[in-house]
């Protein structure tokens, strides 16, 4: 039941976001769009409730975490991404690479947390997630430029992958 409500509310919200500006009810919506939004929410909630919501991931429902997520996306994450692009620009122009695949301990317990960490790693400097060990949630990460002292190590901690901020701690606060 909770899964149905969450899915219906989410799909209805997305529909209303996409149709904002169509009329004048509450300053934004045409009356017909509100009716259609209710039907869309019901239909999607019935069809997709099993795939969209899991009981294990109830923590994501907390609105404080959404605010944290937006803050993470425009703050630390965006800066890491800018640094990543300067790094890629340097590699493209000079062609200086020392690639390798290393195991990275993620320390995440939920699927959402692992997904967010993997996406963050892919978009931050010199790293690309290749595979996931689904039992321990460890990530296999392709590095574009490995230093000599790190390549002999057995595995890396997730904190060492990021340069400027402690992104894994942010992800843990948002998704777990």
């Amino acid at each position: 039941m909770l899964a149905f409500i969450v899915t219906a509310l989410f799909s209805g919200a997305v529909y209303l976001l996409l149709t904002a500006g169509s009329g004048s009810v509450l300053h934004f919506w045409a009356p017909t769009e509100l009716v259609v939004a209710c039907f869309v929410a019901l239909a999607v909630g019935l069809v997709a409730r099993k795939y969209f919501a899991h009981a294990r991931q109830r923590a994501v429902l907390n609105p404080v975490r959404w605010v944290l997520g937006v803050a993470y996306a425009v703050g630390p994450f965006f800066l890491e991404m800018a640094k990543a692009n300067v790094d890629v620009a340097y590699r493209v122009i000079t062609g200086r690479i020392r690639p390798g695949i290393m195991r990275v301990k993620s320390g995440m317990k939920t699927d959402v947390g692992t997904l967010m960490l993997a996406n963050s790693i892919t978009l931050t400097p010199g790293t690309l997630t290749v595979d996931i060990d689904e039992e321990t949630n460890d990530l296999y990460v392709h590095f574009i430029n490995l230093a000599d002292e790190t390549k002999a190590r057995e595995f890396l901690e997730a904190e060492e992958v990021f340069g400027l901020f402690n992104c894994p701690a942010w992800v843990r606060r948002i998704a777990e």
Binding site: L17, N85, V88, R91, P99, G100, D131
Partner: protein
């Protein structure tokens, strides 16, 4: 006036990084390093061209108070969020598929996935 300069700067940064991404795809030696250039540079470049669009819409809304410019900005933001999430996940899927197909990273100094399923 200042807004116009900002729009030009954002478009310039966006085109610069998009160009670097495409050059990276042509220049790098194997599929993983090409994915690096593709995912990071083209996502970042597209975010910046979209920021230019959002700035333009904000400026027009300020002048005309026409609701359609607010819609333009909102939809552009949604498109950017969708693009950032799908690009990163898609790159992950391609890298995994390439490894399972038997491509090994060229010039690799270390490979912890070697021998794993």
């Amino acid at each position: 006036m200042i807004l116009n300069v900002l729009i030009w700067v954002a478009l310039g940064i966006g085109l610069f990084f998009n160009t670097l991404g495409v050059i990276g795809i042509l220049r790098f030696p194997d599929v993983y390093t090409r994915l690096h250039a593709d995912t990071k540079a083209t996502t970042f470049g597209s975010i910046f061209t979209s920021i230019a669009v959002v700035l333009y819409a904000a400026g027009q809304y300020w002048h005309t108070l026409d609701g359609q410019y607010a819609t333009l900005a909102l939809h552009t933001v949604i498109a950017v969020v969708v693009l950032a999430i799908t690009n990163a996940t898609g790159a992950h899927a391609i890298a995994r598929a390439a490894y399972r197909r038997g491509h090994r990273p060229v010039q690799a100094v270390v490979d912890h996935l070697e021998g794993k399923p």
